[in-house]
């Protein structure tokens, strides 16, 4: 994999991680209210998929989507301001963390009703197919979302009409507190795509380069008229389901073991001269980024200045985003009404 791409992937992941950890802090301070579903642990999926996509592709996601928007290119300022509910938020403060929309970047929304994104994704794909454009739709969803009826309905239609959609399952093994063995009769999610004749593959979602490669291949097939494709990424979230969830339904040992597989650790490894050994990875433990970075720098695998640069850049972007959000005005009720009627044109109603 090209060093440039790896650096981009690493930067995105570091930005996402820094953004999320800061968001958690701001949540603690009361600057962010409501549900807040964080992404740490799963960065390799978003970074891998989104870096492989073209600007002309569309993205549809769930409620854990503000990290996706960030990695898709929505300015951190606008994402943070939305989390703060401010007027300069990308959704004008009307949407919040679960409803990030960015028309300019074809980020077609965060949806908070599990399973709602499939139909919307195939609808966009239907339009692309009608217009015979070389575009595709990327549809993110979790392992829990696979059991919603719309999964079945939408995948059938996507396959029936060979629509250009890439279905990406972020399988973090849990639907809130319900582990996959307790919510799905078939736990290898990618196998369920066979019921619709949709080609599917499973990749290690903690390994960003594999996710990136699989996405490239799948998008390529789609653009060549191959119809919908399916990728299952096995991953893990380090935190609870949302800020309201301590995640105590998971064994501590499991969380620790998964944290050792921190995707950022892996990416750093690949961007550097040699991969860290399994032993090194295993030892890394919970605070992977800090500890591994220190050791890698020591070993000369990554120039200190380079790594520090990436990290600082991410921190600076996030700090700037928080300041921006803090100073952004609250939206007005007049703005809310304008959004409610944004499609009314010049028609005057009662």
């Amino acid at each position: 994999m090209e060093r440039d791409v790896l650096h981009r992937l690493l930067s995105d992941m570091l930005l996402s991680r820094a953004f999320e950890e800061r968001a958690a802090e701001e949540y603690g301070k009361g600057n962010i209210v409501g549900f807040l579903h964080l992404y740490p642990g799963e960065e390799a999926v978003g970074a891998g998929v989104l870096n492989a996509a073209a600007p002309s592709d569309y993205v549809v996601s769930g409620y854990r989507e503000h990290a996706h928007a960030l990695m898709r290119g929505t300015p951190a300022r606008e994402v943070m301001a939305e989390l703060f509910g401010r007027a300069d938020g990308v959704s004008g403060g009307m949407g919040g963390s679960m409803h990030i929309f960015d028309a300019e970047r074809r980020f077609m929304g965060g949806y908070a009703i599990v399973g709602e994104s499939y139909p919307i994704a195939i609808g966009i794909a239907y339009a692309i197919a009608m217009r015979r454009l070389p575009e595709a739709v990327i549809c993110f969803f979790g392992d829990g979302a696979v059991n919603q009826g719309t999964f079945h309905e939408s995948l059938n239609m996507a396959a029936l009409w060979r629509l250009p959609v890439l279905f990406v399952c972020e399988n973090n093994h849990y639907a809130i507190g319900t582990e996959i063995h307790r919510h799905s009769a078939v736990t290898e999610v990618y196998k369920r795509a066979a019921a619709y004749n949709i080609p599917a593959e499973k990749v290690d979602g903690m390994d960003v380069s594999r996710v990136y490669d699989a996405t490239r291949r799948a998008l390529d097939l789609i653009r060549r008229g191959g119809g919908p494709q399916f990728i299952e990424c096995e991953t893990y979230r380090f935190r609870g389901h949302s800020m309201a969830d301590p995640g105590s339904y998971r064994p501590v040992a499991e969380v620790k073991a998964q944290m050792a597989r921190d995707p950022i650790t892996t990416a750093i490894g690949e961007a550097a001269i040699r991969l860290p050994t399994q032993a090194e990875l295993a030892e890394a433990g919970a605070d992977t980024i800090a500890r591994l970075t220190a050791r890698m720098v020591e070993a000369g695998h990554l120039a200190e200045v380079e790594m520090e640069g990436l990290r600082k850049a991410a921190d600076a972007v996030v700090e700037d985003a928080v300041q921006f959000a803090l100073h952004s005005a609250e939206p007005t009720m007049a703005a809310a009404w304008a959004h409610m009627t944004c499609n009314r044109r010049d028609e005057v109603l009662i």
Binding site: Y58, V60, G89, V90, S91, G92, G93, M94, G95, H99, F101, D102, A103, M108, G109, Y111, I113, E116, Y118, P119, I120, A121, I122, G123, I124, A125, Y126, A127, I128, A129, M130, G149, T150, E153, S154, N156, M157, L160, A336, A338, H339, M340, C342, N343, R344, R345, E347, L349, I350
Partner: protein, 336 residues
């Protein structure tokens, strides 16, 4: 200029015109293509426009309605036909949580030029699950508009207006109206989609209704006239928004308000009408705003009971008469 046309033909003509005029218009639903729609509204269109623009779908209401939402997000103008309103319950997430909210939630970034056509109402012994009138279920949702055409002319106008609009609009079509006839002038200028129509001027009582029951109300008004009661009949044409000005002006003239609806009475569409006009026309009303509505009962299959479960012309006549002349005996009334 105007020709006697069947209601379904008016819809068909409107669809045809819009499909012809704009490549971004397409329609989809169960059996809309090869079969031409359960009520013929899309007859002949697949042959003319091909299967991508007139798309037969699997039985997957939740997702094909959501497909319409997605397509609308990127500038298409989908017309989703849900075979009957009873199946719309399976599509409400796409309608209420997605279509109605996305323009707002996105801070005004997206348009939602989505039309959903739904036959509904009590037809002829279709049983409890196929006889629903769910107008009320969707009226409470901010962000939606609801049109209820009762004539071929309105069906033609309102479908075209709905397709042209950038707002999500639901057209509730009545199953018993598809084979009703009326004049259609395709060149006539349309009133605004939400404007109520005064179907018959009167001075003694205002009857407000919509869809098929607006026609029954007009028939009742003819009966009432023989009795010397001049009823003004308002056909709402739109349930969301409601044209309050037209309604209130009539009530202020007649001082009596009868609301006629096929929907079940409890929390039906009539409740909103009675509540708003009861408040707005409080001083003008000589008698309470009165609702004549369907029974709060699942629809019986038996034909006689089915008919008895919703207002018929005679019921409307009786209710209007009672409202206008509460204290008078029939003899005294006849002597007037």
């Amino acid at each position: 200029m105007s020709e006697e046309t069947l209601y379904w033909q008016a819809l068909n003509k409107a669809m045809d015109t819009e499909l012809e005029a704009d490549e971004s218009v397409f329609t989809l639903g169960e059996d809309v293509g090869l079969v031409g729609g359960s009520y013929r509204a899309t007859q002949g269109l697949m042959a003319k426009y091909g299967e991508w623009r007139v798309r037969d779908t699997p039985i997957s209401e939740g997702s094909f309605t959501g497909l319409g939402v997605g397509a609308a997000l990127v500038g298409m103008r989908p017309v989703v036909e849900i075979m009957t309103v009873n199946f719309m319950l399976l599509a409400l997430d796409s309608i209420i949580n997605a279509a109605a909210k996305i323009p707002f939630m996105s801070g005004g970034q997206f348009r939602m030029p989505l039309v959903i056509r739904v036959p509904g109402g009590i037809a002829k012994q279709l049983g409890a699950q196929h006889s629903q009138r769910l107008e009320h279920t969707i009226m409470n949702v901010p962000g939606l508009r609801i049109a209820v055409p009762s004539t071929p002319q309105d069906a033609y106008w309102q479908l075209r207006q709905a397709i042209a609009s950038d707002e999500p609009i639901i057209l509730l079509e009545h199953e018993l109206l598809y084979f009703s006839k009326g004049p259609l002038d395709i060149l006539a200028e349309a009133p605004p989609m939400h404007r109520a129509a005064n179907r018959r001027p009167g001075r003694d009582v205002t009857i407000i209704s919509y869809s098929r029951h607006a026609l029954l109300s007009a028939a009742a008004a003819e009966e009432l006239a023989k009795d010397g009661i001049e009823a003004e009949v308002i056909d709402l044409r739109s349930l969301k928004p409601i044209d309050w000005d037209t309604c209130a002006a009539s009530v202020e003239k007649t001082h009596h308000l009868l609301i006629v609806e096929e929907d079940c009475r409890f929390a039906g569409a009539g409740a909103e009408i009675a509540a708003t006009l009861g408040e707005r026309c409080f001083g003008a009303l000589d008698a309470p705003a009165t609702r004549l509505a369907g029974l709060d009962m699942s629809t019986p299959f038996n034909g006689t009971l089915e008919a008895a479960s919703i207002p018929q012309v005679a019921d409307i006549v009786a209710a209007a008469r009672k409202l206008c002349r509460p204290a008078k005996t029939p003899v005294a009334a006849a002597a007037e």
